[in-house]
Symmetry: C3
Subunit: 353 residues, 3 copies
């Protein structure tokens, strides 16, 4: 997707030769869809803020410091297109400042995605968004601190983090991040809420494989409980079809849930077919597994604009109540009873700038 760049007066007025290239970029995604989810006999219909990509607005820039060194910032916040950002616009998706070098890599301070979460959205055709997104079901964790959602046992994003991204080494990439718990030493467990995560990936031509791992000391949960997440994903782009697979497991507090996901994207006309199948295995409770099937098609009106439709179904065991997610600040999926199956669909338009 093409980005709009604010023309830098730095560039316009730069003294000849003395000043390096710099830019500040305004960017965003505005995505809205009409969505419907049925859980058992109860359904709800409304407008979702993003069935394909999270709606967002951001500013980012990079300054060439010379000698291969660069400084940069990234401020990106989520938009609720459906109701105009209920709780106030925030740069909650990413707020970072960084110094980077081609030789030494990048040091990044602020709020950013956890390296341990990237695979979960990378190796699913629907990413982590919309009724088809892998994010609709919790792995380990209570409802209020769902794994794979915000700030729980396996947080999607790290606040108060220091991250280090390795320089590009052939086909291999790697990164690590630490998130401060910011508790005083007067508290019994002053590492509460802290987290550490790693990711390594290997990308050679059409092949992409990656491993992620993270540990969080239960921030919103009991003091002293460590939650661990491990995930592995792979995709291979044959051109006419791109299959992908994801394995993810999260454990902590005597619970463990495994996720096996299989997906495929197929270029079709000016668009793309998407399909995914996922199995959620609760390793500590019997009869508490779920299966999810999602199908979708997106048609590109341009490189920046896509109209799309998605349909998904979650089949729950008698002891499971996993649902489907809708990305909206006001549209909530109906609550799911144990063993109820859930169906959802949405169609919408995504515009990037």
């Amino acid at each position: 997707m093409k980005k709009q760049t604010l023309v830098a007066i730095a560039a316009l007025t730069a003294a000849a030769g003395a000043m390096a290239q710099s830019s500040v970029t305004l960017f965003g995604v505005v995505d809205a869809s009409v969505a419907r989810v049925s859980a058992g006999s109860v359904d709800v219909t409304g407008l979702s803020s993003g069935g394909l990509s999270s709606s967002r607005l951001g500013f980012r820039g990079v300054e060439d410091l010379g000698g291969g060194l660069a400084a940069g910032f990234w401020l990106e916040g989520g938009l609720a297109v459906d109701n105009g950002t209920g709780g106030g616009f925030k740069f909650d998706r990413r707020s970072t400042v960084s110094v980077s070098s081609k030789s030494f890599g990048e040091l990044r301070l602020g709020r950013d995605k956890s390296p341990a979460y990237l695979n979960v959205e990378t190796f699913d055709p629907f990413g982590d968004i919309g009724v088809g997104g892998i994010n609709g079901a919790n792995l380990v964790g209570s409802a209020s601190s769902a794994a794979g959602t915000a700030e729980g046992s396996a947080p999607k994003r790290y606040s108060n983090s220091v991250g280090y991204i390795l320089p590009k080494m052939g086909d291999f990439s790697g990164q690590v991040a630490y998130s401060f718990g910011e508790k005083t030493s007067a508290i019994a467990n002053d590492s509460m809420g802290s987290g550490i995560a790693l990711r390594g990936s290997y990308t050679a031509g059409p092949l992409n494989v990656a491993l992620g791992w993270g540990k969080s000391r239960g921030g919103t949960d009991a003091v002293g409980v460590d939650y661990k997440s491990t995930n592995f994903g792979a995709s291979y782009n044959f051109g006419v079809v791109k299959p992908m697979a994801l394995f993810a497991t999260e454990k902590g507090g005597n619970k463990r849930v495994d996720l096996f996901g299989f997906g495929v994207t197929i270029p079709l006309g000016a668009g793309e077919l998407r399909a995914s199948y996922a199995m959620f295995k609760d390793k500590n409770a019997s009869n508490a597994d779920s299966k999810k099937l999602a199908l979708g098609y997106g048609y590109n009106l341009s490189k920046r604009t896509q109209v799309y439709g998605t349909i998904a179904r979650m089949t729950n065991d008698d002891g499971a109540k996993r649902g489907l997610a809708m990305s909206s600040s006001s549209l909530a999926s109906p609550s799911v009873a144990n063993g109820a199956n859930v169906t959802g669909y949405e169609f919408g338009v995504r515009h990037s700038f």
Copy 2:
């Protein structure tokens, strides 16, 4: 008012011929005034965030998709210039994504003004803002869900809406919007909070006439009560003077209030004189009518900057307590006792970009 456009790198780097014209625009209004309102023997003075136009900041863009088709977005939020946006900046004025065509019109998803509200602000010289604004008095509805204000019996804006704007057909324009209530089918009345609204207008040379209609299923009020609003406005620009008239009625829950408004704008020097007279008729209570008179002058320092002053008076029957509005997050009009008359004035500066 001139808009500033962020120069699109899309345009700067576009491959020859292949790429259509696109732009992202930053725009806004910063308006502040010193305002004073007296209700009976009590008065208050302070800084209002916009006596002439609501202060705002926004980003919007359009992408030419070729073949007469276009995609666009609009993100616009209100500013509280007086105290720096108390509750956090939000794109609460408009958050939409749309696909449009010269032949088929525009499909618009998100949060937008209700078509049923547009006449109320179009056919008043002071619009819906400041001590002179038509918005200072409720029609039907409780204090907390005032008609003609936010999200009440006749909401100013629709969240979760799907709108359709007809293509231009000669001198006629038309649009319709539906706002999802987003209640689950488990709730007795799952259309609660939903709304539908229409508007048609005819504009030929100096003449502008428009009809609006809307129905809301009481969102913040009792379940199952439908509120209906109907309004009709006309203006004719003679050049030396532009008279306008507005009739609006709202009813629901055994209440009905009618509004008759008459206004005029007169170009004078580098500015404009404004005057309006309005009568509020409570059709279900006797001795509960009000009359409002507002006078103002705005002097244009440029096309983008105006200094202005407004004075207004609301005369209440013994059983009425309609007030005057100030557009501020911290400056509240004093409460009005039954039968008390209210006087307000403000002078300020509005700058657009």
Copy 3:
């Protein structure tokens, strides 16, 4: 620091000659540091959002109206880089609209810094930010309405203000601002929360001296208590060293605290050494004084990017419990017991655009 300017379409499409120069500028600072503060035996470590400058994002513009007259706006809000702006982004640092003239000065409406606060940050090498900042200790006022912090007995910023800045008169500058309390006349003391402040400065070559004075009618404190602050600062730039001194006193409600500050900045290589020493004298309590020492170095990677480190120590008398500040929405300094000494350090990177 170089600013990025959004290219104005006004300039691009201006009719020949008719239109004056205008611009809208996007600007900001993204500053993050790893910070640690120890108070007695308790310490806390985490990520601070700005150890050198407050992180911020803003839009500002000026329109040349011709004849020496100009209109302008300034919208600037604080960023919490550490966690993505917890409570929502706001234009809380400055939200103003103004009309100015070279002959008559500037009239400014909205939210802005109090003239009585400017010296406190101007004549300290660390300004009012970070563990080294002068802002870490309260002068007069309760903990919740700390002098020199937000909206207390000597507010840093005025909401609802009308300010007037004198035109440049030789080496002398002056300004005054009034902040409306916005209480109705039905309240016993309707000037509650209001404030008035003045500042005059004289700048001739390397010399800079300034006097500030302000009075606030206790907004968050008892009705009818006036708080007064007076401060005086001076600096002289010898080139190889720039010494500075600050005297500030605040009184009200039978309390008075004096501050004597001495600082120095020394250019060193591509950076700057900073040192400050401050004494806080409680004039109404015995054995309640404190001393603060701060040392720092900042290295400029470019004009826009600096890496820095600061170390500071507050030494409290037995009856004092002044602390050190960290600029973070989630990282709070440990509470300080009476007589405990406090040590803090941080190192970070600041990037401006």
